[in-house]
Amino acid sequence: MDFDLSEEQSILKDALDRLLADKYGFEERNRILKSDAGWSAAIWRHYAEMGLMALPFAEEDGGIGGGAVESMIVMESLGRVLALEPYFATVILGGGFLRLGGSTEQRAEWVPQIAEGALKLAFAHTERDARFDLNHVETTARKDGGSYVLSGAKSVVLHGDCADRLVVTARTAGGPREEGGVGVFLVDANADGVSRRGYATQDGLRAAEITLDAVEVPAETVFGDPENGLPLVRHVVDQAIAALCAEAVGVMSAMHALTVDYMKVRKQFGVPIGSFQALQHKAVDMFVALEQARSMTMFATMMADETDAAERARAMHAAKAEIGRGGRLTGENAVQIHGGVGMTMEYAVGHYFKRMTMIDVAFGNSDHHLRQLARAGGLFADTAA
């Protein structure tokens, strides 16, 4: 086992952290947050120039050939500054479908555009009654000659407002909750019949409600098997969960650092509040949660390319559950230790707390994954390890 970063990985991390330290001060982030788009096109270009967009794609497709560890590094750094750009939606989620399910032609067409920063993607999947169940798809895809016609509604589509193309799940067959019969389509976000309403989310990111009203898409836009796309969805979402865990580690480490710093400078009763053991223990609990989350993120990262889907899913359930509960503990204590200051928009810690809370809500909360893991028999059921 080797937990250290390679030289290239360290270089990547340092370069990105330098860029973000320069571009993502709290004030600057607030300015970006309040802009119409809600993210910075200028910083997006910097990411592209640094090669972040190309990072996880194969070299033969126009990428850099990075893997899950590289994505972990990037996501953690983005989390530490609460970056607002649609990196996760485009490169991790949307890009995941190209990496894991794209045909040679599809990859040749889209990967170079992503790598340049010219194409933004979003994953339009969640529906009203689906909650966290990936198999719940009511949107329909009716075959019509060489095309499919999609109809339905998708909710809380992360960065769905700015995406150029949408990865849409829709049923070619079967009832709303059946495992089979789901197709995955790459849809022009401006196609006839697509209507979108964008809005901010609680954490300052952007999302959209999307309605598909008889949207016609050519059959070449299907990823993989139009009758059996859910295994692909599950694989992409598992990798996305690993990346989201890494972002959470960035968020938690920033909250923890802010809190410990604050404990040293805030004085009450003539002494720094950090001298009160009641608060020291809370800060230590946060530290423990952070390191446990980091460990689970490494575990999830290691399992992101596992081909045994059941094995991989168990790892992601465990990691996401741990991140959810550790993140909540960290966020709530961070606000509490800051006192009134923690309750204000003017101070960074509350923004981290909100992002942390929304990470739990994305792709299954802590409870959901705990339940799934328990149903799957837990982590240690069939090993001696």
């Binding site: 969640t126 529906e127 009203r128 009654d129 689906a130 909650r131 966290f132 169940d133 719940h136 509604a153 998708k154 909710s155 809380v156 709303p176 909750r177 209507s195 309403r197 809005y199 901010a200 989310t201 609680q202 954490d203 999302a207 409600e209 309605t211 004085k267 009450q268 009763f269 003539g270 009160f276 009641a278 608060l279 709530e332 606000v335 509490q336 006192g339 009134g340 923690g342 309750m343 204000t344 928009m345 003017e346 509350g350 923004h351 707390f353 909100k354 809370t357 929304m358 809500v361 994305a362 909360n365 409870d367 705990l370 339940r371």
Partner: protein, 400 residues
């Protein structure tokens, strides 16, 4: 021991409920259900209704407009108010400064202020905390210097709830900087229209506009606005903070939220069934209900002990836990309510954004869930943080 309510108490509860059903404007109730922001006008409208009935300040002495109800009836009334849910009359007036004025103020002050508090003619805010003085309130620095028949006040207050609506602010100010810190403090009533007062809003993490900074620069306050004696303000402040015992656990509020969780969890679907049918979810809700029931019984014990003892003597040690448990339960319920929404807790829509439902699949009630969870982090911070409460219990109750 008999833990049942008396027939009279049961009848009284019915009477209170019937009154709320009849009189609370539907639009106000609707806002209360999902913890939407209730505006100044709503408060005023509702307080006037209560005051006309003689119920705006039930706990006050009868000569100042109180009802003469004993502690149990007061509690039943408050619980029903919270559960209904209806807005509680503004605490800064009726629970904080009002009792200080009728206990320590002079007759002129009583005549001048109390009726206007009961009718919400005057909106009061609380000017205690300062940037450097939160938990260590007695270290406050805002200075008041006497010049002939005025005090000249300079300093800054912060976290001042709803100061943007306020006609008056009651302030702790330092009048004797040489004295030991608790002993040089006075309690002043300050007209918010006085020259030299500036209010700057602070936006809370949920996007709410409920707190403010209040800057005081050479504000002239007539000496007749001093409550009680100069340099005795700390005693009055302690009296004020200690007065909160029946209110602080907010059991009715949590009961209402539990009911709301049940209602909405029956609408939200999980794994093809209503979420409320999910075993794990029900266990979590049941666990909160257990906590809440235990707290309710604790609260009733405190009230019964108060009723027996009258208002003198040491408080029941059990009363110390009302703030800690009460805030924890409020936070647990707001978190669970947010969980009910699943991914639909994410959209953030500022109040008054009526584009919300076009086109949207997300239920309208979901928009308040996460903000309410975020906002309720405050309840373990203000009014003496939970850490401070534990310090007090360790020292005063456990003798450590």
């Amino acid at each position: 021991m008999d833990l049942r309510y008396t027939d009279e108490e049961i009848a009284f509860r019915e009477e209170v409920r019937a009154f709320f059903r009849d009189k609370l404007p539907a639009d106000i109730r609707e806002k209360m259900v999902d913890a939407e922001h209730v505006g100044k006008d709503d408060f005023v409208r509702w307080t006037r209704v209560l005051n006309e009935k003689g119920w705006a300040v039930p706990h006050w002495p009868v000569e100042h407009g109180g009802t003469g109800w004993g502690p149990m009836k007061q509690y039943i009334y408050l619980e029903e108010l919270q559960k209904f849910p209806a807005p509680q009359p503004l605490a800064f007036g009726v629970n904080m400064v009002g009792p200080v004025i009728y206990t320590f103020g002079n007759d002129d002050q009583k005549d001048r202020f109390l009726p206007r508090i009961a009718n919400l003619d005057d909106w009061w805010c609380q000017g205690f905390s300062e940037p450097g003085s939160g938990s260590d309130l007695a270290s406050l620095k805002t200075r008041a210097v006497r010049e002939a028949d005025h005090y000249i006040v300079n300093g800054q207050k912060t976290w001042t709830t709803l100061a943007q609506y306020a006609d008056w602010i009651f302030c702790l100010v330092r009048t004797d900087p040489a004295a030991k810190k608790q002993q040089g403090i006075s309690f002043l009533l300050i007209d918010m229209t006085s020259p030299g007062i500036e209010v700057r809003p602070i936006v809370t993490i949920d996007g709410g506009r409920e707190i403010n900074e209040v800057f005081l620069t050479d504000v002239r306050v007539p000496v007749e606005n001093l409550v009680g004696e100069e340099n005795k303000g700390w005693d009055y402040a302690k009296f004020l903070l200690g007065n909160e015992r029946t209110n602080i656990a907010r059991i009715g509020v949590s009961k209402q939220r539990v009911a709301r969780i049940r209602e909405l969890a029956a609408k939200e679907m999980s794994s093809g069934r209503p979420l409320i049918e999910d075993e794990r979810f029900r266990e979590k809700l049941a666990s909160i209900e257990i906590d809440l029931k235990a707290l309710e019984m604790t609260q009733l014990r405190v009230i019964a002990a108060d009723a027996k003892r009258g208002d003198t003597g040491r408080p029941d040690p059990a009363s110390s836990i009302l703030k800690i448990k009460g805030s924890e339960i409020q936070q647990a319920t707001t978190h669970l309510l947010m969980e009910v929404m699943g991914p639909y807790a994410a959209p953030y829509l500022p109040e008054g954004d009526d584009r919300w439902n076009e086109p949207s699949n997300v239920p309208d009630y979901a928009r308040f869930a996460a903000p309410s969870y975020f906002n309720n982090r405050k309840v373990s911070i203000y009014g003496g943080s939970n850490e401070i409460q534990k310090n007090i219990i360790a020292k005063a109750v456990l003798g450590l």
